[in-house]
């Protein structure tokens, strides 16, 4: 469930090309984002208007995806659910990326002591299982979209921090940064113009999976009773709520589940494309830096290997 466990990106320009799949993914994401911004435009009915007399109706012309136990239109709830779901998924990931980037930069550029402190902290968070940490955070904040967002971000941050640190360290020693330094360019300038753009690519890759993982995590939290509260429509909560009615009304759970899966799929497809582009354009980056995270991110072990290999130790 951790976003950190990202698969590696396909490399190079191999997959940088438009495919029907890519277009479909873009279209779907576009719809979801539109639903997140202006659900009223898409939804055929109110997401909260209840009518017990038409509860548990199967999909029909009137209710394309059926109705739930309260007689609410499932399609409308999915559309209105886009905003809280994306907030939980994207928000948690964005927060984790920003937090992780800041911590990673701090560790990589802030000197030995700071590095030690930050990495120890990261170790502590990593040693707590994500779900346990999320439950603890949620019992502090209380259930709801905000709490879910924070809880998921809390256990994702260290993964991004670790990846960012490794990336930054690699780039820091690269020739073009050295060149920039020798040109007398200021530190902020170097960070913003050289280090961030190059270090960021693998983070983006990790984040695309992270969004999906966050959606899934939100659903699991709902399952455990810590999720967003009714009557807010949120995909994870809808999926979780539908389980008791599964034998009676499969559509209550299946369609929100499909929304999550399709979103994850689309984000991944688009993310891969972006990744391909980033790799193609980020030419000056040292070879392989784009993938450092995959071995470095999940565990603290990558180091030993590099040690053994000696590398260009000063």
């Amino acid at each position: 469930m951790r976003p950190g466990a990202a698969p590696p990106r396909p490399r190079g320009a191999r997959r940088v090309r438009g495919t029907p799949g890519l277009w479909a993914a873009c279209l779907f994401l576009g719809l979801i984002i539109l639903a997140g911004i202006a659900p009223e435009l898409l939804a055929p009915a109110s997401p909260t208007e209840t009518d017990v007399l038409r509860a548990l109706r199967p999909p029909s012309a009137e209710h394309l995806l059926g109705t739930d136990a309260n007689g609410r239109d499932v399609l409308s709830r999915i559309i209105h659910g886009a905003r809280p779901s994306l907030l939980a998924g994207l928000g948690a990931t964005a927060l984790a990326v920003v937090g992780g980037t800041a911590l990673g930069l701090l560790a990589a550029l802030g000197g030995r002591v700071l590095d030690e402190i930050v990495m120890r902290l990261v170790d502590v968070v990593l040693s707590l299982p994500g779900m346990l940490l999320a439950l603890l955070v949620l019992s502090v904040t209380g259930p709801g979209v905000g709490g879910t967002l924070l809880a998921i971000a809390a256990f994702s941050i260290p993964i991004y921090a670790r990846l960012m640190r490794v990336q930054t360290m690699v780039i820091k020693r690269s020739e073009y940064v050295a060149a920039a330094t020798s040109l007398g360019l200021g530190r902020p300038h170097i960070i913003v113009r050289h280090i961030l753009p190059n270090a960021f690519a693998p983070l983006v890759v990790l984040a695309t999976i992270g969004v999906g993982a966050a959606l899934v995590a939100a659903s699991s939290l709902s399952f455990l009773g810590f999720g967003p509260q009714p009557p807010d429509p949120e995909w994870g909560a809808m999926l979780s709520d539908g389980r008791d009615y599964f034998a009676l009304a499969w559509w209550i759970a299946v369609f929100p589940g499909a929304a999550i899966s399709l979103t994850v799929l689309s984000i991944t497809v688009v993310g891969r494309r972006l990744q391909g582009r980033a790799e193609a354009s980020a030419a000056p980056r040292p070879r392989g830096a784009g993938h450092a995270g995959l071995t470095a991110a999940p565990g603290p072990r990558s180091r030993s290997r590099h040690d053994e290999r000696g590398g260009n130790r000063p």
Binding site: S127, S220, F246, S261, P298, R301, S302, S304, D307, E308
Partner: protein
């Protein structure tokens, strides 16, 4: 990816990435390395305990309220409960005395379940560990087979495989569990819905936990394999007339395995997250359920006990990985 593409991270001085000081420092560094490692491990355990203790006490509501539950008890009983668990002392005092007892090896007693923490965790560890090991093994085997069979194969095969994997990642474990139960237990009657002792009781929960892990591992592994298959040594092996499967298993796999081992090691440590959910669905008496109830009930001794356990597992896995790396990649041997 293969090791040659890895960035030279470790060459930067003062950058221990994990709890592992540079074991390669020659000379008397060996003992020092062990000591350092011990030191950082203790530091990690202490911080983990402190963080969870702090978070738990940040939650609104008093411990005695959650202990008493929603019952109206007499003031005398309330006072007795407060005194029995030392809840009337300041937080610092409670923390101090807890740490003191911890140092003497006493994990304390649960507030809620009338059991010592050691026995509460101990009696449930078996159920969780067997599930964790079974699902990890299953995930590794399936991911290996999937990756070996699909890497650099026909485009449709790879697309199919990666589509299924993405689906695996995007379906919550509790749903997988409920669907598995519905089909294989309620409909087909092949496996029991409860009674986790025997092997048959382990199958469905292990599959449910393994699904998302398999999906991630096989993606990483296939990626690594595809890169390895581009390497010159593969061409050499092929030209020597080695079978395709042989090339994949004998040469490419070894190169692709390192990141997978890293990932798998981390996953194993994080497994308790899945256990929390799956033990609930399958009614297994494990550590995940224990901690879920303990968090809800503000049962500090149990929560910190489990945190200690997971932190210890985390440390243990890192040590294990250090041992395993040189076995997989001969280039990492002989330096320590």
């Amino acid at each position: 990816m293969t090791t040659p593409t890895l960035p030279p991270v470790g060459d930067i001085p003062g950058t221990p990435t994990g709890g592992r000081p540079a074991a390669r420092r020659a000379g008397g560094g060996w003992a020092r390395a062990v000591l350092l490692r011990l030191g950082t491990s203790v530091l990690l355990l202490w911080s983990a305990v402190t963080v969870s203790f702090g978070l738990l006490h940040l939650t609104p509501g008093s411990v005695e309220d959650s202990l008493i539950g929603m019952e109206s008890v007499s003031p005398e009983v309330r006072a007795e409960i407060v005194a029995a668990y030392g809840l009337d002392r300041s937080l610092i005092e409670q923390y101090g005395s807890y740490l003191g007892r911890l140092l003497r090896g006493d994990l304390g007693h649960s507030y809620q379940i009338h059991e010592s923490v050691a026995s509460a965790i101990g009696s449930r560890l078996g159920a969780s560990l067997s599930l964790a090991v079974a699902s990890m093994a299953l995930a590794l085997v399936v991911a290996l087979s999937l990756a070996v069979l699909t890497a650099r194969r026909a485009r449709w095969l790879r697309s199919l495989s990666s589509g299924v994997e993405l689906l695996g990642v995007s379906v919550p474990a509790f749903w997988v569990g409920i669907l598995l139960l519905t089909v294989f237990s309620f409909e087909l009657g092949w496996f029991p819905a409860f009674g986790g002792e025997g092997l048959t009781g382990l199958v469905l929960p292990a599959v449910a936990v393994a699904v998302s892990m398999t999906a991630l591992l096989s993606q990483v592994l296939r990626e690594g394999l595809e890169l390895a298959l581009d390497q010159p040594f593969v061409l050499t092996a092929r030209s020597r007339g080695m079978s395709e499967l042989g090339v994949r298993l004998r040469h490419a796999l070894r190169h692709a395995l390192l990141p997978v081992v890293t990932l798998a090691g981390w996953m194993f440590g994080a497994l308790i997250s899945s256990l929390v959910v799956i033990e609930q669905v399958f009614n297994r008496d494990g550590v995940g359920r224990l901690v879920l109830n303990a968090v809800a009930a503000k049962d500090m001794p149990i929560v910190t006990g489990v945190v200690l356990l997971t932190a210890a597992v985390y440390i243990g896995i890192n040590v294990l990985l250090d041992v395993v790396y040189p076995l997989i990649d001969p280039r990492l041997r002989g330096t320590a």
